[in-house]
Amino acid sequence: MKTRLLILGLLLGNYCLSWGQTNMQDQADAWWAEAQKAYQEERYADAIEQYEKINQSGLADEALYFNLANAYYKSNQVGNSIYYYEKALLINPKDEDVAANLAYAQKMTLDQAVTPLAPTLGTAMVRSIVQWNPAYLKYGAWLGMWLFVTFAAIYRLGGTARLKKWGFALATLSAITGFLSFSAEYLRDHWTSKDQPAIVFGVVSVREAPAVSAPELFPLNEGTKVQVLEELDGWGHIALADGTQGWMELSGLKKLRELPE
């Protein structure tokens, strides 16, 4: 009886959730239409406001980030513009529109572009793992496991030797697929937590140590992309694309993987 109630509750909750979501989608569509119109009429401040509403609601996609970044670029907000182009690139690193406009935005920054380090085999692999979609890995793990059980049953009950042979081979293959998907997600999660790109906002000082009194190494200007390696009491140990490292206050940057407040 208890389990039945639980299932009923879950179903009801799910239904409410999906109903809420469709409601949200409709609202987001309305905001989107308004924002697109504002952008076309060059009312960039209004466009930003509408796009941000969608962003705040928790819905997002590459197109939203791209359009928002364009609107910020048009209103000369370098930091925000680069931030959202980079966010769009996190979703789809191969989008040419984003890459082209990001180049425009980067020309507005005060810092000279640094030559990034050539990726090693390890970092390249890590980067490709990080790009994988967790949803696919999840379905991969599930499907692998269910197919494994199905084929295992066929192997066990198979009347003929041929049936048994195929059952065994496919069961093994499915089991491998399932476990690989699961471990890929484990790695992805692990590396994602390590990969913390961020964009600098305002002008900040990069120092030798996490203290205001520590000697300044170099200043960074708005729009520069850094990698946060470690954190300590509101200070971040950061690295530039060329490998230069230092400490800066976390209040001076915005992490790309952070959710909108």
């Binding site: 939203l64 364009n70 406009n101 920054t109 005060l110 572009a113 599930w142 066990r156």
Partner: protein, 592 residues
Amino acid sequence: MQQIRGVLLGMLAMVWATGMWAQDKEILFEVSLSKEKLGLNERLRVDFTMNRDGDHFEAPTFKGFKVLMGPSQSTSSSWINGVRSFSRTFSFILQPTAKGSWTIGQAEITIDGTVYKTAAKKVEVTEAVAKPSDEQTAQDVADQNVRVISEVSKTNPYLNEGILITYKLLVGNGVNVTNFNSVDAAEYTHFWNQDLPINAYNFEPTTYEGKSYQSVVLKRVLLYPQKTGKLSLKPYTFELSVDVPTNRRDFFGRPLYAPATRVASTAEITIDVKELPQENRPASFTGAVGSFDFFVTPNKTALDTGTALEVEVRVTGKGNLKLFSLPELKVPAALERYAPENKQNINNSRSGMEGAISDTYTIIPNFQGSYPIPGLAFSYFDPKAKKYVTRTTEEINIQALGGALSGESANTNNTQSSSPTMRSEGFRFIKLTHQLAPIATATFIEDLDFYLIWLMPLLLLPILGWWIRYNEARGNDLGALKRKASSRMAKKYLGQAQKALKTPDSFYLALEKSMQHFLKARLSIETADMTHDTIEELLMAQGVSKEVSGRLIELLNRCAMARYSPKKISDMHEDYTAALAVLTDLDKQHQS
């Protein structure tokens, strides 16, 4: 007669009136000493001066002095512009007889019946001096009457706060200065200095240390201290050519002058320079002290790529303009910025440096786009308000329109470009479609639901195993199921045969089928494989005796025969009981 009398009376009245006026002037009777401090070997001159004639002059007793000469009397009387001035002086020359502090007592005189007295004066007699002033040469007079002093506008300025040092020449009455040179110019170590030119030397009467002088400004220098703490300004030494009046007179009664050279130095001055306050010091402070205005102005904000614009960073006001650096203009990396051209337009005045300094940057946008040049901040310390002031400017937005993709491609266009016209890669428009979805963020690694669905099939495996084992226990295997079904069929057909005992055709058909199903169940063979030989063989293999199998074969033969030849009902009863016996025997023997 009457008239003459009237005129005479008038004249008398006038004379009386003038007399009365002269009488009204205050009566003065004073003493003056040539010096108040003198050496034992020097002489003292004492003058008693009155401005009205009097009688019964009584000199004081000069205790401690010996009268060398006197009293000698001199009188002068003159009419200038109808004003009568009168002066009578009694002079004494005294020689001190002993060291110490002596008093020149009161002298008395009776004027118009009233007795007037001078004030008593103190004279200090010291040790004998090397050169008694009475035997003064022209040089001595020059040394005494010509002095050089320095004045500082402020002795405790802030670091970099402008101060003015003024060198003045003081000349005692009667001495003329004809020329001056600076011999040993002061070195202003730790000061930034600027000489202010003197256009005209104007004498002004001043009083310095109780003596009256004519003063003239020789030199003015603006100083900006560059170091904190006590700084000393070294003395400044001048060489002065002077003319000193002598006691001799020329033909016309004018005094004759003797030339002399005087080398005079100023005193050393100590300036205590204060450090600028550390608290609230803005980050943009680069050392400017004074009061300033700050501007950043571009000459245009919209232009074609590859063309130049100029941005001027300008500070105007009063203060140490030459002594601080202007804030550097920062421009986006895509703008080409050249080294700035520095311009100064500064006037130095007694109140300090005043004017403007500016840096003009030439900037060339190489790429199309919109580039914000961030506003600058300029801070200075206001020594009057004793606080820091920061002035900031607005962000400037530069629009670079059209033109080439980059500076390089613009250059190569001139040389040779057979390639089709380079199209600039424009700023891409927004995307028109979207696939908004909740942001997939959390990993499923920590998701319980994921593990439930993922591991559920593994739970199914033991269930499957249990099900298979259950089935095996129930009927050994699939063959057993078939056998069970066949023996059920055998019983069914045997039952039919019993019912059909009256009709021989259906009886034998049912009996044969019953036996066939029985064999199927017993021997696990199909109907098609049923020949008498195989049946016998298989039954033998199952340990059935030859006698029983022989009876079975015989019964099967009779069933086959009965289909072609009619049989009696009594035979049918006999065959049924025989079949029952055979089947029970087969069952028994098989089980054993």
